[in-house]
């Protein structure tokens, strides 16, 4: 707490002289930067170390002769070559891409339709349903993976990545619907009244007015659905066991570890490549990403 207090002192009391006030501000700024650098180091140590390890040679990783935090014996791409040629990484990547694309498509269709209906139209029980959706979002995957194991098995999708396409929407649809309800509600009602007078059908209203106007919300929801299905771990861990069906998260963590030796260089190269798509999306669409993150609690 003291850091916040020190840092916030710059806001000044309004009673001091102008000179001391600006000096205070400067010190507060310096203190802020100092502590931010400290936290940034804490937050960025693991990604930094993963990058460093991925570009080292196996010999350097294994022998610990040099400082592990830097690449002493030259940057090499061997780990990535090994990963892409000697392991099932590309199979995992393909499976994850298929699953994620399907889940994002399903999620967007289901949640945009439902959110339009719940946010803009009404029917008997719709407000209870909206509350129910929010509660569903709060149900964690670890509460349901055992009964879902039985269900996935019963429909014959155990150890198939299509089973993931079946169960991932439970993680994405509730939250996406919830934030889309918020976005649709924030659109002025004059718009749909005008459309109604012009004789537009509900479907036309949705596709011609609401989807274009709520596009930022839709992008935020899509990013959320993408990152959740890309990063899902519990369900594939429980439902998939052969390498040709495995997805990236579980595949990288389990299958790349050979029984005897941990090939840490290759593992880190795999983890980096697997984490790359969400990171790239985040780098380019940070504002949408953050909008989706904060919308859940501030809209509704």
């Amino acid at each position: 707490m003291s850091t916040a207090a020190i840092a916030a002192r710059g806001a000044g009391t309004g009673l001091g002289l102008k000179g001391s006030l600006s000096r205070n501000r400067r010190w507060a700024l310096i203190a802020s930067y100092f502590f931010l650098v400290f936290f940034a180091i804490f937050f960025l140590i693991p990604p930094y170390y993963m990058v460093v390890t991925a570009f080292k040679s196996d010999a350097e990783v294994a022998h610990m002769a040099t400082n592990p935090w830097i690449i002493a014996n030259g940057v090499t791409l061997d780990q990535f070559k090994l990963l892409l040629t000697q392991s099932d990484f590309l199979v995992f990547f393909k499976n994850t891409a298929i699953v994620t694309l399907c889940v994002v498509a399903i999620t967007m269709v289901v949640s945009v339709l439902a959110a339009f209906s719940l946010g803009r139209m009404r029917f008997w029980g719709s407000s209870i349903l909206a509350t129910g959706i929010f509660l569903t979002y709060l149900v964690p995957d670890t509460l349901l993976f055992i009964p879902l194991f039985q269900i996935v098995k019963a429909v014959g999708l155990l150890n198939s990545y299509w089973g993931m396409v079946l169960v991932y929407p439970t993680l994405t649809v509730p939250f996406c619907t919830w934030i889309m309800i918020g976005y649709f509600q924030s659109i002025p009602k004059e718009l749909d009244e005008a459309a109604l007078i012009d004789g537009a059908s509900h479907m036309q209203m949705l596709t011609k007015i609401f989807i274009p106007v709520a596009l930022p919300g839709i992008i935020a929801a899509m990013i959320f659905a993408f990152t959740v299905s890309w990063a899902a771990f519990v369900y594939p861990m429980a439902f998939l066991y052969s390498a040709d069906q495995q997805v990236l998260t579980v595949g990288t963590v389990t299958s790349l570890i050979r029984a005897d030796v941990y090939k840490w260089g290759m593992l880190m190269a795999g983890a980096l490549l697997a984490a790359a798509p969400p990171l790239v999306i985040y780098a380019f669409l940070m504002d949408y990403y953050i909008a989706g993150l904060t919308a859940g609690a501030t809209k509704g």
């Binding site: 140590i45 610990m64 407000s127 995957d141 519990v234 963590v253």
Partner: protein, 320 residues
């Protein structure tokens, strides 16, 4: 119920307006139009209802039934699985560790989130974006993959942390093989992963506090702590409550970190509910016992969920 009606009131107004518009054209068609409208609305919700009913509500209920069967799922044994779990020392350790894990991690996540949000809020506007972007990185990397990176940092023979400790001629620490250090490590990783979420939520909340309040307080001669205590905290109380409760649910049900870094060991001391349920249900093939284990999470999650719902509705009303 009163809350719900309040939340939806703009809609009622609009309906009334629309009815007015429509009655001018054809009073007879009005009933038909409204009925068709609600049918279409229901049909649009149908896919969502099917998904929630089949893949959330049904499994939840089925889980209760499943937890009352024997291992081979041939015989109904009532509460046998629950009483078996309650008689096991390991289970009580899981309860204890889950509580320590969730409470400690959420406390420090909220604290770090609050501090970093204030720090960033102090910066000049154009620098804020860059820092925010940088500090959110742990939240963006899929948790399973960053846990793997942490595992490598904690690796018994190659630990990069121990390299630093040794260079200060400090003893090596057995990060993941000493039970207490292992507990520390998994909590640390959870704090690392979750703090950025709090940072983003609190930063957004800080921006929504009206600047005039601080100016008025400055005129009254309030110092920084008084401003924080009497303006920032009350204005953010609701969002703090929502994020803490939400994080409590997510942290309590966390699986990835413990499963990857320790798989529950050493001596079962880092097991949380999710990993223990996975061990019993999937690894040992006793689905009913696993289902019973994860059902123990339900009461605490339900209580947290109810309070979150109250908070979100309150906030919805405040914003309007």
């Amino acid at each position: 119920m009163a809350d719900t009606i309040h939340t939806w009131s703009p809609r009622l107004e609009r309906n009334r307006l629309q009815q007015g518009l429509l009655s001018s054209s054809a009073a007879r068609g009005l009933h038909h139009v409204l009925r068709r409208r609600s049918t279409i609305a229901f049909l649009m919700c149908l896919p969502l209802i099917v998904i929630i009913a089949c893949l959330v509500v049904y499994p939840a209920l089925y889980s209760i039934y499943l937890s009352m069967l024997n291992k081979a799922q041939t015989r109904f044994i009532g509460l046998g699985n629950f009483s078996f779990l309650l008689s096991r020392d390991v289970f009580w350790m899981v309860v204890q560790q889950s509580a320590i894990f969730a409470l400690t991690a959420v406390f420090f996540k909220a604290l770090i989130g609050l501090i970093t949000a204030h720090l960033i809020n102090n910066l000049p506007a154009k620098g804020q974006r860059k820092w925010r972007g940088m500090l959110l990185v742990p939240w963006v990397i899929p948790l399973a993959l960053s846990s793997l990176g942490w595992w490598w940092l904690f690796d018994p023979t190659h630990s990069a942390f121990n390299y630093i400790l040794k260079s200060f001629s400090h003893d090596e620490i057995a990060w993941l093989s000493n039970p207490y250090w292992a507990r520390f490590s998994v909590i640390l990783v959870n704090i690392w992963y979750g703090a950025p979420f709090f940072l983003i939520m609190y930063l957004a909340a800080l921006k929504s506090v009206p600047e005039q309040l601080y100016e008025a307080a400055a005129i009254d001669g309030a110092n920084a702590w008084q401003k924080f205590r009497h303006i920032t905290l009350p204005m953010m109380r609701n969002i703090i409550a929502i994020t803490v409760l939400f994080s409590l649910i997510v942290t309590f049900a966390n699986f990835d970190i413990v499963q990857i870094m320790t798989a529950g060991g050493p001596r079962n001391m880092t097991h949380v509910f999710a990993t223990y349920a996975f061990l019993l249900g999937i690894r040992s093939g006793d689905l009913p016992l696993g289902a019973a284990t994860s059902l123990f999470m339900f009461p605490i999650l339900a209580v947290a969920a109810i309070f979150i719902l109250r908070g979100v509705r309150k906030r919805g009303r405040e914003i309007g």
